[in-house]
Subunit: 295 residues, 4 copies
């Protein structure tokens, strides 16, 4: 049977029986397969099953002082994880492509200074092979949501994967992409909605917050929201961050830059550390009201 052929744990006949009874095409990702919420934990910091996680940091790692300063600032404001791009997917081959392995080293330095686990995007199987050990949570970006070789490779790791929804992926396709990772044996997956492509032009993408209750209904995986990429405008981040908390999200991913005006990428959507601190106060208060543990 097709399902069994692709599972690493074919010894478990009972599991296969459950899977065959699930009517949706996503099986191990399905709440019918596992009723309780999945909680992803790194270094004692958790996302999911009542734990609200906050990932913050710059779009791109640009220099030691930039990433260390931002890491210290967001840690003070209560963020749990540090994000920063070392390998950057850019529409143009002529745009800044990231500091690559040098960027990873700077992220390690920032982790050393703050204790914050690192979330960074990986675009290629080769990068996973070379650098997975230096990363705490592997991010797979929207453009690679259906890069099935990369999904399978990430599924063979035993470390958390943050999977972003493709810009025109349906929720079903999103869960099927997660299924590629789980079916290889890695169930430490965090889903991230970051805006879908529509006709609207006042925001860069359209943030689909209704994905939160839909995914909560169909899947046990944690779902977090990236209001920065979704809106493309720092002025709308607070409003969408609070809405995400109220809608039931398990966390947020927010861009913070110590000097947005000089950022090498996505400056327009980045908060300053001071702005981020203000957002965090409200987010934390609201998350507690919603019954979540923050941090």
């Amino acid at each position: 049977m097709a399902v069994a052929m692709n599972m690493n744990w074919k010894e478990d006949q009972e599991v296969i029986e459950i899977i065959k009874r699930i009517k949706e095409p996503f099986k191990m990702t399905n709440r019918a397969f596992k009723a309780e919420d999945t909680c992803v934990t790194v270094d004692g910091r958790s996302i999911g099953n009542g734990h609200f996680g906050i990932i913050a940091g710059p779009c791109s790692v640009e220099s030691r002082s930039q990433i260390v300063d931002v890491a210290k600032a967001i840690e003070l404001s209560g963020a749990n994880f540090l994000r920063g791009g070392a390998f950057k997917p850019r529409t143009s081959p002529y745009d800044f492509q990231g500091l690559r392995s040098e960027g990873l080293a700077l992220l390690r330095a920032a982790k050393k200074a703050t204790g914050l686990p690192i979330v960074t995007e990986v675009m290629a199987v080769k990068t996973l092979e070379d650098h997975a050990d230096d990363i705490d949570i592997i991010q797979i970006g929207a453009r690679n949501m259906q890069n099935f070789d990369l999904l399978k490779a990430a599924g063979q790791l035993r470390k958390p994967v943050l999977l972003k929804r493709g810009m025109s992926a349906t929720i079903e396709e999103f869960l099927m992409a997660a299924e590629y990772i789980l079916s290889e044996g890695n169930d430490q997956v965090i889903l991230c909605e970051r805006g879908i492509r529509t006709f609207e032009k006042y925001t860069r993408n359209t943030l689909d917050l209704s994905a939160i209750p839909v995914i909560k209904r169909y899947s046990h995986l944690p779902i977090i929201i990236d209001p920065s990429h979704a809106t493309g405008d720092s002025r709308y981040v607070e409003s969408m961050a609070l809405a995400a908390v109220a809608a039931g999200a398990d966390g947020l991913m927010i861009e913070v830059h110590n000097n947005p005006e000089t950022a090498l990428s996505d400056g327009k959507q980045s908060l300053t550390p001071v702005q981020f601190n203000a957002v965090m106060e409200k987010v934390t208060q609201l998350a507690k009201i919603m019954g979540k543990t923050v941090g």
Copy 2:
């Protein structure tokens, strides 16, 4: 000049000067034209400028007992306004088209029983001419957002208009549609986001909550959210209602039916009175935390 030609109040030269300096195509709708938030008030109940309004009721008026019972129930739960369709826009000419003037009479009866002002959709200029006096807030539906003759006729009334965003209208087009009403002299306009059309299929439309901060930035008009039509599924209404409050909305429009399973239209997305009461408790609590006056 084109602007002057279309304004009823051309005597005011200063206003024209302000309008000419506004760079966006929407002028009187613009926050640059009027800095303070607009508040729409009917019978002492307000929406906007710190007042959070709740409009609830069935998709269609079906019978006297149905509309009166629902009106009493939502009034007990704290709703401020009663909605109910008498003239129904239906994709099929063979579907139930509404009770029309009989439906309006039933809405009046429900108002008499509860004191709740009536919000109901009008699809034609003729209906406005015949029945505007029987309606407290004129609703213009998504399909008629660019029915310019209807917008102009509503602009010539001196009573509130609830304007729904078209299903593929940009925010700019939405504000331009409101401009048609304001430019005729009626500034009592409430905007309503009700989901836009995208490729996603797990929800009927995609609720664009980012429209809230965008509209708050560009316009002084109140903006409310209809989570029922947006998601098309009663199971997602609470989550999206709370998200709307947190995002800064000025109110909600929620479908409630005393027996959703037998509803003549849109039963799947209607809350029961009991479910509505539970949502209202959370919405009211959150709205107060957001600094809004409810009711």
Copy 3:
């Protein structure tokens, strides 16, 4: 039964039986209801069932010399019908709204000079009541595709209706809108695809030419294409006009202006008479190869 209630010809029990057996929600519009292609004829000029019709003219009627000159030019190039907007749907209330009844009079003058029947948009039931006699083919625009009162009023006329697809209407909704007209007793309906709203920005809309074979399969009504509004750019009109012919369309609607650079609306997408003549030569040749009668 619902169907019967909405039909003017309820005497025919057999028809109702056919309708009840059609599984799609559109009934009288359905090819299962009427197998042979519908042909719409005005003054001996036909569209549909092998007849390829060409409607051309300016976006807006601007002056006597403009509309008469354009009419003469397009008639020489082989167009069968003259289009020209008198009542203009404009996103902004401050934009040119059309010459209205004066525009209709100018269209009559152009018809007198050339013999070309007139196609013009009507946005309101009142306009139909006042002016239907002056128009040969009533155009209902994309923004009014679900203005059901207007559709019903057009259905009660006994003259052809050109119905444009709404900018985010599915093909099923498009056929249901036509059904409103047919169910009132008027089966002289021409469908017109004019581009749908997508994320793409290099064209104003995305022309959905696959609507041609889909509509040919499901409906007997003629389907024509408007490459001018779809692309919004005169440089792409020839390519899309030829594609429409090859795909099996029953006609074209093309904007032609004697001086596009000074046009009061949509100049960028208008062909000059010389450009139109060149397009017509190729279109005519290709339509004949496709087995159609032109003119």
Copy 4:
């Protein structure tokens, strides 16, 4: 300067000067960079610059007899290239993933039997390293259009690349993806439009034929059309194939299966060899009328 850093041919100062003057973000892909149409040739068979190419074959390679039989049939009908998937991108990890290297061997057998060069999709850099020599034209699929590592690796090859448009990619992003390949030194790129994602449900995607004149205006690269994936329905393939020819496309990619009802993937959209032969007769006739050389 960023452009120079990413170019392999930085010795040519004049080229850099031209690139800097091109205002669009795509440079080497731009018609302003190279005025004449690019022609891609394999084994004496050409696509572009007046040569109309036809790529046909099954979605997936399933068996020796299947692929050899289809190859012989399409060769008789006049196709120039054989397509067939060996590495299959599938939404579900439990669906048939392709015969992989065994599939490539079967494609070589079919080439040996017919002389038809092979077009097949590659999803991973590793596959390129292992198997590029066995493939005549490397296909990069819609889901990998922004898999930048794969694009760069394909750019370092010296063999043709068929790049499919992503399902929600703008034309500009599509040309930027091609730019990744050209900027690495490989200018043998064929673009392929295969439908974009919209709200319409009667077709699997919406075929954007207006991409043809837009790309012809902005780029020198050949553009072909895949009506099979675009419509998802074999009944609409002929209509869209003819429309593509009339719109000015440089070729077609059509799915043909000797037994569509038993196909392991995409059977619904596959033509039988007999149907394909009928389409080919019309396509060939029309391409000649459009001034193209077929074969």
